[in-house]
C-alpha cells in the first residue's frame, strides 16, 4: 500500500508531494485572500485602518432586531422558504422518483431530462416567465413570501434529483419492495418502513443541498421584488456595509458546514460503489 503512490508518481500519473503542495498552496492562498479581506473589512473602523469589534457586537446586541429589521425579515423569510422548498422536494419530487423507479422504468430518462432543464433555463430567463405566473399565484394563494418556494422547488430540482437518484441507484429498491410485498406488507408499509429508511442518505443530502441553494438564491427574489436573505443583504449593504459583510460571511460558513455534512452523510461508501457499478454496465 505504501509503495502504491510512489509507483504512480514515478510513472507520472500522480503529482509528487512537492508539486501537489505548490499547486494547492498557491490556489488556496489566492482563493482565501478575498475571504480574508471580507473578514478584515468587518473589523474596520471607518476607512482609517483602525480596527474594532463594534460591528460584530452591534449585530448581536439586543436592539439589533430593530435596527436591522429588514435583514432579520430576510433571514426569517429565507429559512421559511428553505423549509417549504424541502417540503416540495419531499412531497412532490421524492414520491415521483420512487414511483417512476418502481413502476415506469421507461420514464426514467424523461424524468432525468425534466430535472436537468433548470440548468439550461437559468433563473434570469425563468424569472421573465415567472412574473406573469406569479401574478396568478398571488391571486390564488395571496402574496405571502412562502409562495416563492414554488419557484425555488424548480431551482433546486437538478441538485435534489441527483442526490436522491444516486441513492436510488445504490439500493436495490425493486428487490427490496418486492421482498416486502411478498412478505405481506402493504404499499404504505413498504414506503415507510422499507424504502424511506434505505433512502435516508439521499433524502438528507437532497434536503441539505436544497437549503443551501435556497439560502443563496438572489435572482428570482430580487426580480420578483421579494425579500430574502440575499436581497436584504444587498439592500442593507447600502447603509451598513459592515453588517452586510458579516451576514455574508456567516451565511457562507453555514452553507459550508451544510455541504460538509452532505459530503460526510450523503455519500456513503455503497453509493460510490454503485456509481462505479453503474458505469461498469
Amino acid at each position: 500500500m505504501s509503495r502504491g503512490p510512489s509507483t504512480a508518481v514515478r510513472i507520472g500519473t500522480e503529482p509528487s508531494k512537492i508539486m501537489r503542495g505548490v499547486i494547492l498552496t498557491i490556489v488556496g492562498v489566492v482563493f482565501l485572500l478575498p475571504l480574508i479581506a471580507m473578514l478584515e473589512f468587518t473589523f474596520r473602523q471607518g476607512f482609517e485602518g483602525e480596527h474594532t469589534l463594534d460591528h460584530w457586537t452591534t449585530l448581536f446586541s439586543p436592539d439589533s432586531a430593530r435596527t436591522y429589521r429588514s435583514l432579520f425579515t430576510g433571514i426569517t423569510n429565507s429559512f421559511l422558504l428553505a423549509a417549504v422548498t424541502v417540503g416540495i422536494v419531499l412531497v412532490v419530487l421524492l414520491p415521483t422518483m420512487i414511483l417512476v423507479h418502481l413502476q415506469f422504468p421507461k420514464l426514467r430518462r424523461v424524468l432525468e431530462f425534466i430535472c436537468i432543464i433548470p440548468i439550461t433555463v437559468p433563473a434570469i430567463v425563468l424569472v421573465v416567465g415567472l412574473a406573469p405566473v406569479y401574478a396568478i399565484v398571488v391571486r390564488v394563494f395571496g402574496g405571502s413570501i412562502w409562495t416563492l418556494a414554488f419557484a425555488y422547488g424548480i431551482t433546486v430540482l437538478p441538485y435534489a434529483y441527483r442526490s436522491i437518484q444516486s441513492n436510488l441507484d445504490a439500493v436495490d429498491v425493486i428487490t427490496l419492495s418486492e421482498a416486502a410485498r411478498s412478505l405481506g406488507a402493504g404499499w404504505l408499509n413498504v414506503l415507510w418502513r422499507v424504502l424511506l429508511p434505505n433512502l435516508r442518505r439521499g433524502i438528507l443530502a437532497a434536503s441539505f443541498i436544497s437549503v443551501a441553494v435556497v439560502l443563496g438564491e438572489f435572482t428570482i427574489a430580487s426580480l420578483l421584488n421579494r425579500v430574502n436573505l440575499q436581497t436584504a443583504m444587498l439592500q442593507i449593504s447600502q447603509s451598513d456595509p459592515f453588517v452586510a459583510v458579516i451576514c455574508a460571511l456567516l451565511a457562507l460558513v453555514l452553507a459550508f458546514i451544510l455541504l460538509l455534512v452532505i459530503g460526510r452523510v450523503g455519500q456513503p461508501k455503497s453509493t460510490k460503489q454503485a456509481k462505479r457499478n453503474r458505469s461498469d454496465s
Binding site: I23, V27, M38, G129, I174, G186, M233, L259, D280
Partner: protein, 307 residues
C-alpha cells in the same frame, strides 16, 4: 407510457409474471394518478414560465404579434451586451477550467474520503453555487476602492490599480469574481473524469517504453479531452447565465445580457420596446441550448472512458 405493463414483467425474470394481487391494484389508473402532482407542478412552474419567457418577445404590450422586440436583439446596445457576456464567460471559463484542472491534478492520489478532499469539495460547492451577492462583497473588500489589496498596494508601492477609472464596477471587474466561482465548479465537474484514468494505462505506457510525456500527450489528454471541453462548456454556460454577482457589483448600467434583462424588467421599456426582456430571454436560451447540447454530446463521449 404505453407498454409499461410488459416492461414491468420483463424486468423481473425471476419472480415471473405472477405479482402479488395487492400489486395489481396499483397497476391500474392509480399509479398514473401518482405522477400527476409532479407533472402539474413542473408544467406550472417550469414549462409555462419557460414558454412565456421565450414567447413574450414576439408580442407587443397590447398582445399583438410583432417582430419588433426580436429585431431589438440586433441593436448595437444589445449586441454589445451579448459580446461582453460572451467575452467574460469565455475568458473566465478558459482560465477557470485550466486552474481547476490543475487543482484536480494536484488532488490525484489523495484519499477520496480524506479530510483534504472533503474540505475542498464542500468549499468548492459553496463557492460555485452559493456565490452571488457574497462574492461581490468579497471582491469589493478585496480590490474595491478601499479594498485590502488596493489600500496595501497604494500605501506600500504607491500603485493605484484604479488609475484608469474604477474598473471593478465595469465588465472587466466581473472577470475576477467570475473566475472565483468558475474554478470551484471545474473542480467539482472535472475531478471524476481525472479519477477515471486507469493506472493500468500508465503501466502499459511505461512497459512499452513510453515516458511521462507520452503518457500525458498520447493517453491521458486524448481520454480526458471530451470531459475537459465538456466542463469548459458547462463553465461557459454557468458564467453566461449568472446574474447575482453582476447585479450586486453593477447597480447602474446593463453591460451584460442578464443585467439588460433586469433593466428591461424593471423599467418596462428599453429602447422603446415593451417586451424586450422576452427577446433577450429567447436569445439567452438559444445560446444556452446550443452550449448545453454540445456539453451533453461531449459528456456521452466521456462516459465511454469511465467504464
Amino acid at each position: 407510457m404505453k407498454g409499461d405493463a410488459e416492461s414491468d414483467t420483463r424486468r423481473h425474470p425471476l419472480t415471473g409474471s405472477a405479482p402479488a394481487p395487492r400489486f395489481s391494484r396499483f397497476r391500474g389508473l392509480l399509479k398514473y394518478v401518482g405522477l400527476t402532482p409532479f407533472a402539474v407542478y413542473v408544467v406550472i412552474f417550469l414549462a409555462i414560465p419557460t414558454v412565456l419567457a421565450v414567447v413574450t418577445g414576439f408580442f407587443d404590450a397590447e398582445g399583438g404579434f410583432t417582430l419588433d422586440n426580436i429585431s431589438g436583439l440586433f441593436e448595437p446596445v444589445v449586441l454589445n451586451a451579448f459580446l461582453s457576456s460572451f467575452g467574460v464567460s469565455a475568458l473566465s471559463a478558459v482560465i477557470g477550467s485550466i486552474v481547476g484542472a490543475l487543482v484536480c491534478y494536484a488532488l490525484l492520489g489523495t484519499k477520496p474520503d480524506g479530510a483534504l478532499r472533503s474540505v475542498i469539495s464542500s468549499g468548492s460547492s459553496v463557492l460555485a453555487q452559493f456565490g452571488g451577492v457574497m462574492l461581490a462583497f468579497a471582491f469589493i473588500a478585496f480590490i474595491g476602492s478601499q479594498g485590502l489589496v488596493t489600500v496595501f498596494l497604494a500605501n506600500t508601492f504607491g500603485i493605484d490599480i484604479f488609475e484608469n477609472g474604477i474598473w471593478l464596477y465595469q465588465v472587466p471587474g466581473l472577470l475576477l469574481p467570475y473566475i472565483y466561482f468558475q474554478v470551484p465548479l471545474m473542480i467539482i465537474t472535472f475531478m471524476p473524469a481525472l479519477e477515471g484514468l486507469k493506472s493500468q494505462w500508465a503501466e502499459a505506457n511505461a512497459t512499452l517504453g513510453g515516458t511521462r510525456f507520452t503518457y500525458w500527450t498520447r493517453i491521458a489528454f486524448p481520454v480526458l479531452a471530451p470531459s475537459f471541453f465538456g466542463s469548459l462548456l458547462l463553465l461557459f454556460a454557468n458564467a453566461f447565465s449568472s446574474y447575482a454577482t453582476a447585479a450586486a457589483l453593477i447597480s447602474q448600467g446593463s453591460f451584460i445580457v442578464p443585467l439588460q434583462i433586469r433593466g428591461s424588467l424593471i423599467s418596462e421599456t428599453v429602447l422603446g420596446r415593451e417586451n424586450l426582456a422576452g427577446a433577450l430571454a429567447l436569445g439567452m436560451i438559444v445560446v444556452m441550448v446550443v452550449v448545453m447540447w454540445g456539453y451533453s454530446i461531449l459528456q456521452s463521449r466521456t462516459a465511454r472512458w469511465q467504464r
